[in-house]
């Protein structure tokens, strides 16, 4: 797995090896769960994982696995296999890759350990519900759907009641599957750790406000893995504490991720996993640093709604208020906030064929940003895992033109 990660050539060094070791150990743990009498739950990336940890169930994230498949450039093969099974090539490539991978145990780590249960939270998209239905049929295991109603404009009292009630249903579901009671004290503890982890992750991302920025969004895409897969564990807290110290040190010493950083950019949507290195280099050539992104901040963006003294009671709201569960106006507000916070000169939008809820509305956000902040944006048409949707020459030309525009914009003093 190690040489297949796309980010190996980026420059945040010290923590990197630690990360690889942790992830390797995590997947070994998950794959040997059965021998150790542990249960495995597959869960969506934005799902409430804390109750699983509190009950000693190993969470496994097909989306993280999808990212690994993309980064190892194994996406086309697995996507084509799904298409041969009858799945349209227009479906989310994480879903396609995961669905076919389950039947052939392919991919960079020889497939995920089979689940004992599935936990699907639709706070990111409707795709996950359909995808998890497919897997529930395939593996014949119980499926829990944590339904987080979409927040077009408000978090209504009805939604609040419904979201909260499901937390208790979720816990009963887990107790039913495991035949054990959840320890409420342990749950409190996991909640505290999870909160601390998210907070540290936010602080890591915040170091990018320094000029030059000590890290790029490509670094964030790499270091994200733990806040996704090991959220709620002490291990992730320790890791991010270390990473934060490293970033703060670099910031203090004025070491930039991009030597001679001239332009500061914001990335929108999922990474293009199979071209990370290429993209990182392309932007670096132009002295452009992608200092922040809307994607990795999704794992700490709604933290303010968590009450550590009542995690179970407040988590429902925090999970329902996730970035992709918000109306486009709210997303645009968040983007504007990030532009101000990180002093952004331009936005790079990945128009991602795989992810309709993330991509539809991008054009409107683009217009709002142009109108309210007068900064240009670049649209890259691609797919996070399926390389067939990526045209290197086209993207390259566009990046060149975009940087030129930013340069002119800056000269003109916007």
């Amino acid at each position: 797995m190690s040489d297949k990660n796309p980010e190996k050539d980026t420059k945040t060094v010290k923590s990197e090896k630690k990360m690889r070791d942790i992830m390797t150990a995590y997947y070994i743990d998950a794959k040997t769960a059965r021998q150790n009498n542990k249960k495995v739950a597959w869960i969506t990336s934005g799902g409430p994982v804390e109750p699983l940890i509190a009950m000693d169930i190993i969470p496994v994230y097909p989306e993280n696995h999808g990212a690994m498949i993309g980064a190892s450039k194994m996406g086309i093969d697995l996507c084509e296999k799904a298409e041969a099974m009858g799945y349209s090539s227009d479906l989310c490539s994480y879903a396609r890759a995961d669905i076919s991978c389950a039947t052939v145990n392919g991919g960079p780590i020889g497939g995920l350990p089979a689940p004992d249960m599935l936990v699907c939270c639709n706070n990111i998209c409707g795709t996950v519900m359909k995808w998890y239905e497919v897997q529930a049929r395939y593996f014949q295991v119980p499926l829990f759907i944590y339904d987080t109603p979409f927040l077009h404009t408000e978090y209504s009292p009805e939604i609040k009641r419904y979201a909260k009630r499901q937390m208790e249903e979720y816990i009963s579901f887990l107790e039913g599957v495991t035949g054990r009671k959840m320890g409420r004290d342990r749950m409190m503890e996991v909640g505290r750790i999870s909160y601390a982890g998210s907070q540290l992750w936010q602080e890591v991302l915040d170091t990018a406000v320094s000029k030059p920025s000590p890290m790029t969004a490509f670094d964030a895409f790499f270091h994200l893995a733990l806040i996704v897969t090991l959220r709620g564990t002490q291990q992730s807290v320790d890791y991010y504490r270390g990473l934060l110290a490293e970033m703060q040190e670099r910031a203090k010493a004025g070491i930039g991720a991009i030597p001679g950083e001239k332009y500061r950019l914001l990335w929108d949507n999922l990474p293009i996993w199979y071209r990370m290195k290429w993209l990182a280099e392309k932007f670096a050539e132009h002295d452009a640093c992608l200092v922040a992104d809307t994607y990795t901040s999704a794992w700490c963006g709604s933290m303010q709604y968590i009450d550590v003294h009542d995690f179970i009671g407040s988590a429902a709201e925090a999970y329902t208020r996730s970035y992709l569960n918000l109306g486009v106006e709210k997303m645009a507000r968040i983007v504007l906030g990030m532009i101000d916070k990180y002093d952004i000169d331009g936005i790079v939008m990945h128009s991602n064929r795989s992810c309709k809820p993330y991509s539809f509305g991008q054009f409107d956000i683009q217009k709002i940003v142009e109108r309210e902040r007068g900064i240009p944006s670049l649209l890259i048409e691609a797919d996070m895992v399926d390389e067939r949707s990526f045209s290197e020459s086209q993207v390259e030309t566009r990046i060149d033109a975009f940087i030129e525009m930013i340069r002119e914009n800056k000269v003109a003093g916007r």
């Binding site: 227009d90 409707g126 239905e133 759907i145 109603p149 077009h152 009805e158 486009v328 809820p357």
Partner: protein, 374 residues
């Protein structure tokens, strides 16, 4: 059919029909985009519900807001709004179904100022107590919000009346479907499509009357014995069918569509509103008892078993599955539905639809080959 011309006109230009209705009756016109909108509540508010489907015009303006990988239905509806053709609407209602409709609501709200805008944020699963309670809450809130937007009270008595009207419409269409299933030559499939579509566009009181008359008219015709070689009996399944040309194409190839599993077809009428307590909870009851759309979760296999049941009940020989390009919910269900049909020994053909005007010659050859095999 005596009233066919009237149905056809409404279907040809729903927004024009609505504009005229507004001028004549003074009713507010409320647009909506999916069959999970409780029409009864809109009717009870004294307004007129019109379901929007697609557009007949070239997509141009919608391209500035939606990428090319969005289904033609959502792009078409947005085009209607952006072009100003929907300006006569007093309001729009967006139920929460798929990811694309979800963003359509956002983009509409941000760009099309005409009228009020209501989201009906339904639960995504319908199989738990809390989801059912939430659905009840959502419909209650919708009643309040709509009442507020129209500044008019929505009484239980008005709801009762609307339920009765809608039940007449649903029951009549159902009877027409049944008659036609007995005798597929009773009317062309395209006419049936027009009739169902008209029921989502025309004034519902008038529609109920016309449907009863049409039913009586067809009853006298249905006694005549069918002549000629009996056609191959088919059930249509999958996504929304917005292509009237498909019906003649199948019929010319020797097939007859005897039933369907569309939200614009049988799913629209197959569930009556039950008798019982207060009208609102009965409306909720219909949504809960109805066979689900693929954007909603009820269980893992009822959509396939429902379809197999339909094929058996209607004595059909095969299924044609229409898949609208970029429609995620249906594309996710297709493989498992196909597998279940295979297991039940029911032949199925996939018909992928790229855009609303593309049922070309190649498709016809495939349909002919499929029908021959049955």
């Amino acid at each position: 059919m005596k009233h066919f011309h009237e149905f056809q006109q409404a279907v040809n230009d729903p927004l024009d029909y609505a504009r005229n209705l507004k001028n004549d009756s003074g009713k507010e016109i409320v647009g909506y985009v999916c069959s999970y909108v409780p029409e009864e509540i809109i009717l009870a508010a004294g307004a007129h519900p019109v379901r929007l489907f697609d557009t007949r015009s070239q997509i141009g303006l919608a391209d500035l807001h939606l990428q090319s990988y969005c289904c033609s239905l959502v792009r078409g509806i947005l085009e209607e709004g952006l072009s100003g053709r929907a300006d006569g609407l007093d309001g729009m209602i967006f139920p929460h179904t798929c990811d694309s409709i979800q963003r359509l609501s956002d983009i509409w709200r941000m760009n099309i100022p005409a009228g009020f805008h209501l989201d009906v944020i339904l639960p995504v699963k319908l199989d738990t107590d809390s989801a059912r309670d939430y659905l009840t809450d959502v419909l209650r809130k919708f009643r309040e919000d709509l009442s507020g937007s129209l500044e008019r009270e929505i009484t239980d008595a008005a709801l009762e009346k609307a339920i009765a009207t809608m039940n007449v419409i649903r029951q009549s269409i159902r009877s027409i479907y049944e008659m036609r299933s007995q005798n597929p030559r009773l009317m062309p499939g395209q006419d049936l499509y027009t009739l169902v579509r008209a029921s989502m566009i025309m004034d519902r009181d008038r529609m109920a009357e016309l449907l009863l008359e049409t039913l009586a008219e067809l009853q006298t015709k249905s006694d005549q014995a069918p002549s000629g070689k009996p056609p191959k009996r088919l059930v249509l399944a999958g996504g929304i069918c917005n292509q009237p040309d498909i019906y003649p194409m199948i019929e010319e190839s020797g097939g007859a569509i005897v039933w369907d599993d569309f939200c614009t077809g049988a799913r629209y009428f197959s569930q009556m509103i039950p008798e019982g307590a207060d009208p609102l909870s009965r409306i909720t009851g219909r949504f809960l008892n109805r066979i689900v759309c693929p954007a909603k979760h009820m269980d893992l296999d009822s959509r396939a078993s429902h379809l197999i049941g339909l094929v058996k009940e209607q004595n059909a020989q095969g299924v044609i599955f229409l898949l609208l390009k970029f429609c995620d919910p249906h594309a996710f269900d297709y493989p498992y539905i196909r597998q279940s049909l295979d297991k039940a020994g029911i032949p199925v053909m996939l018909m992928e639809i790229n855009d609303p005007a593309s049922a070309g010659g190649q498709m016809k050859t495939r349909v002919e080959a499929f029908l021959e095999m049955l």
